[in-house]
């Protein structure tokens, strides 16, 4: 009896030792060189970018009847895929609601988010995210029925406001109303579709979200003309792509591809004329497009990555006009989203 017990114990010990061995190797791998274990390598090996989007906001990310994704957020995913893989279509989109998005990102289900995500300090630090440059400067607005008689936020005393959970808008709304001393009833939905449906059939007097989103969503309501945006801006909402914390190799790629879109517009390089810049005399543009220097390879990308991005997706101006600007049904002014040279906020640090 005793013999068996000893042997069994020995067996257990051996197995535990083997297990311990595997753990050590895993640790060893994690502590390798800087790029080792980066998302960048994962994406390259996979040959496809997995991008988290909303999928329900026309103009930003929207799936049409044929299953094709389009929108400003979607084009940012495409730009990153074009830069890393040379193919703007090598993207798998994951539709995420506002509560799933950060867990999906930090859990590694998606490589990046391009999903109307507001850049805030707590998300940058305590939630553990990295925010790439803002691709759309927005502000929080309030949608009401035109015949409701509501003109200011104070009119919401005792009324219900529909809001999507897990958003900055939920917090801003609370802050604003607390400041104004207005007692309102929040009706908090997880799913944006359910929230707009409840607003539409009269559960709430108001629906609050980013203004661009409200404008886009209004177009999907049964009678868009019956709804108006209040003349209030409740907050600053800088929206942009997001990656996970402590992976600077991957974060740098997403950050500089996004900047590249803005820089391309500043240089006047578009998807149509990018080929004519081959062999350009301008050293700034030559460096930018990878004819000179090693900006791309230093980042772990092909040196001419911006040629692929601009050729396949276009520059920021093109993306904007096509999806939400003059060439779209929303016809939003560039406003804050114009280049800094035109009085807007879009500014890229130099590519040098």
């Amino acid at each position: 009896m005793r013999k068996w017990g000893l042997l069994a114990a020995a067996l257990g010990l051996t197995m535990a030792a083997c297990g311990g061995g595997t753990t050590t190797t895993a640790d060893g791998e994690a502590g390798g060189t800087a790029t080792a274990g980066s998302r960048l390598d994962v994406v390259k090996d996979r040959g496809q970018l997995i991008c988290g989007v909303d999928g329900g906001i026309p103009g930003f990310s929207f799936v049409d009847e044929s299953g094709t994704y389009s929108g400003l957020d979607v084009d940012v995913c495409k730009a990153v895929a074009a830069a890393v893989l040379g193919d703007a279509e090598a993207v798998e989109y994951r539709r995420l609601d506002s509560t799933e998005r950060f867990t999906a990102l930090s859990g590694g289900e998606v490589d990046m988010l391009s999903r109307n995500t507001t850049w805030t300090v707590s998300r940058d630090t305590s939630v553990g995210l990295e925010f790439a440059p803002t691709t759309f400067f927005d502000g929080q607005g309030m949608l009401v029925r035109a015949d409701s008689g509501i003109e200011t936020l104070e009119d919401f005393a005792g009324q219900a406001i529909c809001v999507e959970t897990g958003t900055t808008t939920e917090l801003n709304l609370t802050d604003q109303m607390r400041q104004l001393g207005v007692d309102f009833e929040p009706v908090v939905f997880q799913d944006a579709d359910a929230a707009y449906a409840a607003y539409d059939e009269g559960r709430c007097e108001g629906m609050t979200s980013d203004k661009s989103q409200l404008v886009a969503r209004r177009s999907t309501l049964p009678n868009p003309d019956e709804h108006v945006l209040l003349e209030v801006t409740m907050s600053k909402e800088p929206l942009g792509p997001v990656t996970v914390n402590n992976d600077s190799a991957w974060f740098d790629v997403v950050k500089w591809v996004t900047y590249g879109l803005i820089q391309a517009e500043e240089f006047g390089i578009t998807s149509e004329n990018v080929a004519t810049f081959e062999g350009t005399e301008n050293p700034d543009i030559a460096r930018f497009l990878g004819a000179e220097g090693t900006l791309g390879t230093d980042m772990g990308l092909p040196n001419t990555f911006m040629v692929d991005v601009i050729g396949q997706v276009g520059n920021y101006g093109e993306i904007y006009e096509r999806n939400v600007g003059a060439d779209s049904e929303f016809a939003l002014e560039r406003g804050q989203n114009a280049l800094w040279t035109d009085g807007g906020l879009m500014y890229s640090p130099p590519f040098r």
């Binding site: 197995m15 297990g19 509560t99 939630v127 553990g128 897990g166 409840a198 009269g202």
Partner: protein
């Protein structure tokens, strides 16, 4: 000689044939595998958390929440800490669970007993209800009640009044209620107390009548007095406020049950009751036919047979599966999140989203639902013991 040395030295073949070795070996292997799996997952979590520069911990629960919650049993302001917000969610979950269990027991039992009805219509309604409701996912039913039924109610300007006592509109249901929370709690306590007292009085009366064949008048009088006192407390002691419609829409006074709460409660009760009805039906069918026939041959009519002979025996079979239905109901309340009812899961989701601490929040969530379910089991086990056969 060889034989002698063989028995002392290590004999692998003999060991592998020995049942005792395998009994121990399997336990050790299972333990090691469980340990390895656990350490792998925990190590993985730890590595990933430290890669993102975060540590596991619950101190974030003391930070101000910053979001508002639509309805709450306890005082809550947006600058209260996260743990208080979670308590608000728990309170809302508990109101849903308590009302849900009470109504489910009632409706489920009625539907289950109705399936034995000789009345064709009653029988068919019971069968169709169970067949239909049991086979549609609960989430769909929640949306159905929320959007199709309660969403179809008129807006506050055109609200429906019920005998001037209650109001219905697409914001919620307004019913008469005690003027203060303290009175409401006292009223509920008085009701439960009166019910328990009545139960024992009734047992006492039955016992006396069985033993002596006559009497029990004193107990009957006591029961009547008890009922009168209870009625007096409820009618005059509660300081009822009745909801009143306001000019141009809206309601003041009374108790407002939000549309989210009413829709969630209705969906949960209808869904769970269908399962309870089947459990009750199975329980009643488990009582042998001879019991029916014997009771009927004593000259008892069908209602009495059901109440005094069949149902008490059926309870033995009914109670254990009821326990799991109550637990299902408790856990299913988390689906009310989809129709914007601010219960525990909804508040927890907002919390982990704002703090970026899904692991910690889910630990809290799992512990909460586990404790709730264990409490239900505890109560049901006591109840189960009470209805088992007493072997003499």
């Amino acid at each position: 000689m060889t034989h002698d040395s063989g028995s002392k030295s290590f004999n692998l073949k003999a060991m592998l044939r020995d049942e005792r070795f395998w009994k121990i070996a399997f336990q050790v292997i299972t333990l090691v595998v469980v340990f390895l799996l656990l350490s792998f997952f925990l190590g993985n979590l730890n590595r990933n958390l430290s890669q993102m520069g975060r540590a596991f911990g619950f101190s974030f629960l003391r930070n101000p929440a910053g979001f508002s919650i639509g309805e709450s049993l306890i005082q809550y302001r947006p600058n209260d800490p996260y743990w208080r917000a979670l308590m608000v969610g728990l309170g809302n979950t508990l109101t849903l669970v308590a009302a849900g269990i009470a109504l489910t027991t009632l409706l489920g039992t009625v539907a289950g007993v109705a399936s034995f009805s000789k009345n064709w219509l009653v029988h068919k309604i019971s069968r169709v209800y169970v067949g239909l409701v049991r086979n549609i996912p609960l989430l769909l039913q929640l949306f159905f009640w929320y959007f199709a039924i309660f969403g179809a109610l008129p807006n506050p300007a055109n609200q429906i009044g019920v005998l001037g006592l209650a109001f219905l509109n697409n914001r919620g249901v307004y019913v008469p209620w005690a003027s203060s929370a303290v009175l409401a709690v006292l009223g509920i306590a008085a009701t439960i107390g009166a019910a328990i007292a009545a139960f024992y009085l009734w047992q006492w009366r039955t016992k006396i009548r069985i033993e002596t064949g006559v009497g029990g008048q004193k107990q009957s009088i006591a029961l009547a007095v008890l009922a009168l006192v209870w009625l007096a407390i409820i009618v005059f002691g509660m300081n009822w406020t009745v909801p009143e419609g306001v000019e141009g829409g809206g309601v003041t006074g009374g108790l407002r049950l939000s549309r989210e709460y009413v829709a969630a409660l209705t969906a949960l009760v209808f869904y769970t009751s269908a399962f309870v009805a089947e459990i009750v039906r199975a329980g009643i069918q488990s009582v042998s036919k001879g019991q029916w026939e014997a009771a009927r041959s004593l000259g008892l009519h069908a209602g009495i047979v059901m109440r005094l002979v069949v149902f008490p025996q059926a309870l033995r079979v009914i109670i254990p599966p009821m326990n799991s239905e109550y637990m299902n109901l408790t856990k299913n309340t988390s689906l009310a999140f989809a129709i914007a009812f601010p219960e525990m899961y909804s508040v927890a989701t907002t919390t982990y989203n704002q703090t970026g601490r899904p692991v910690e929040v889910f630990v809290v969530l799992m512990a909460t639902y586990l404790i709730l379910c264990l409490l239900i089991t505890l109560v049901m086990n006591q109840f189960n013991r009470a209805v088992q056969f007493k072997e003499r």
